[in-house]
C-alpha cells in the first residue's frame, strides 16, 4: 500500500515538474515575443531560415498530400451526403469539418512528423554536444536566438499551411461537387459563402497558432532534457513526440468544446 502511494506520489511529482518546466519555458518565450530587442538581425535571419525549412521546403509534398486528401475526403463525404439525401448540408460540412477541423489537424500532424521531430533531435544533439553551452559562453541569448524563431516559425507555418490545405481541399471539393451534384462554380461559391462564419475563421486562427506554438515548444523543452550522453537523444525525441501528439489531441478536444459552447 505504502509503495503504491509512493509510486503515485513520484509520478505526480514527475508530471508536475514536466508541466512546470514547459510552463516556465512558455512564459520565457512569450515574454521575449513581445520584447523588441528579441528581433535582432540575426534572430530574423534564423526565423526566415526556419520558415523556409518548415513551410517552404515541404510545399511540393504538402501540395500533393493536400490535393489527394482533399479529393478523397470531399469525394467520400459528398457521396455519403447524396446517398443520405442531405445535399443541403454540403456547404456547412465543408466549412465546419474540412476547413475548420480537418485542415489544421492534418497540417499539424504533417508538421509534427517532419518539423517537431527534427527540432527535438536538433536541440537534444546541441545539448549533448555542448553547443548550447557555447552560445551561453559567448553571451548569446539562447531563447532569442534559438527558441523564439523556431516557435514563431511554427505558428506562422501551421497557419499558412493550414490555409493552403483549406484552399486546395475547397478546390478539390468543387471538382467533386461538380462530378457528384453537377454543381456550377457560382453555386459552389455561394454555398461556401453562405456557410462561412466569422467565428470559424477566428477559431481556425487561434487553433493554428496554438498548434504551432506547442508543436515547437514541446520538442524544444524535450530536447533540453537530454543529458550529456548521446543515447539520451533518441529518448528525448521519443518522449517529446509522444507529448506533442498528446498536446495535439488535447488542443483538438478543447477547440471542439470551445466551438460547442
Amino acid at each position: 500500500m505504502l509503495s503504491a502511494v509512493e509510486y503515485l506520489g513520484r509520478a505526480a511529482l514527475g508530471v508536475s515538474k514536466t508541466w512546470a518546466d514547459h510552463f516556465s519555458l512558455a512564459l520565457s518565450i512569450l515574454a521575449k515575443i513581445f520584447h523588441r530587442r528579441s528581433y535582432s538581425g540575426i534572430a530574423i535571419m534564423v526565423l526566415i531560415n526556419q520558415i523556409y525549412f518548415t513551410a517552404i521546403q515541404i510545399l511540393p509534398l504538402f501540395f500533393a498530400v493536400s490535393i489527394i486528401m482533399g479529393f478523397l475526403i470531399t469525394g467520400i463525404v459528398f457521396n455519403l451526403l447524396k446517398e443520405l439525401g442531405l445535399a443541403e448540408y454540403t456547404g456547412r460540412i465543408i466549412m465546419g469539418f474540412v476547413v475548420t477541423e480537418l485542415s489544421p489537424f492534418l497540417t499539424v500532424l504533417f508538421l509534427a512528423l517532419r518539423t517537431s521531430s527534427a527540432m527535438n533531435a536538433e536541440i537534444a544533439t546541441m545539448k549533448v554536444n555542448k553547443e548550447l553551452h557555447t552560445l551561453e559562453v559567448f553571451n548569446i541569448d539562447v531563447i532569442s536566438y534559438l527558441f523564439l524563431p523556431r516557435v514563431i516559425s511554427g505558428v506562422i507555418s501551421v497557419t499558412l499551411l493550414s490555409g493552403i490545405f483549406s484552399i486546395l481541399a475547397l478546390a478539390a471539393g468543387f471538382v467533386c461537387s461538380n462530378l457528384i451534384f453537377n454543381m456550377s462554380l457560382d453555386g459552389y461559391a455561394n454555398l461556401l459563402l453562405n456557410s462561412a462564419e466569422i467565428s470559424d475563421i477566428a477559431i481556425i486562427l487561434v487553433k493554428c497558432s496554438t498548434f504551432g506554438f506547442f508543436i515547437t515548444l514541446i520538442p524544444i523543452r524535450s530536447g533540453l532534457n537530454a543529458t550529456n550522453d548521446l543515447t539520451s537523444v533518441p529518448v528525448a525525441v521519443l518522449i517529446g513526440m509522444v507529448r506533442v501528439f498528446v498536446a495535439i489531441i488535447a488542443i483538438e478536444v478543447l477547440s471542439l468544446i470551445a466551438r460547442s459552447i
Binding site: 535582432s40 538581425g41 546541441m126 555542448k130 553547443e131 557555447t134 559562453v137 559567448f138 553571451n139
Partner: protein, 140 residues
Amino acid sequence: MKRVLGPHLGLVSSDVPLISNLNVWSNIALIYQYHRKASKKSARTFVIQCLQRYGLEGIAEKRNSEISDDERFCVKVLRAVMVVKAVIVIDRPFRMLHYHKDISFIYETLAKIDDLFERCDILDYDPRGKLREERDDSKA
C-alpha cells in the same frame, strides 16, 4: 572566468565546440553579427578576410566535421576575437591540438591576428591537477 571578463571573454576550449549545423564562416560571423549588430554581408566579408590571414578561406563553407584539428583551432580563435574588445582565453590547448609538441603553433596563430584582440591568456592543467595560467607575452 566569465564573471571577471564578462562580455569580453573569447573562450577557446574543447568544451566550447563549434555549432555543428552552421558552416565555418557562419560560426565566426554569428558572434560578430550578434554583438556588433552587423549585417550578414559585412560580417561575411570581415570573416573571410580573417580566414585569409590563415589561408583558410577555402574552408569557409565547410562544417565542423569536415575540418582538421588545426583548422578547427584557428576557427575557434577567430570566433573568440569576434567579441568586442576580446580577451582570448585558451583553455587546455593541447586537448584540441593533440599532434603538436610545443606551443609555437599557438603563438603563430595568435600573431597573425594580434590586432584583433586585447589580451590572450593560456590556461593549462598541471600534472598535479592545479590550474596553471600562462600569459601570452607575444602580444605584449
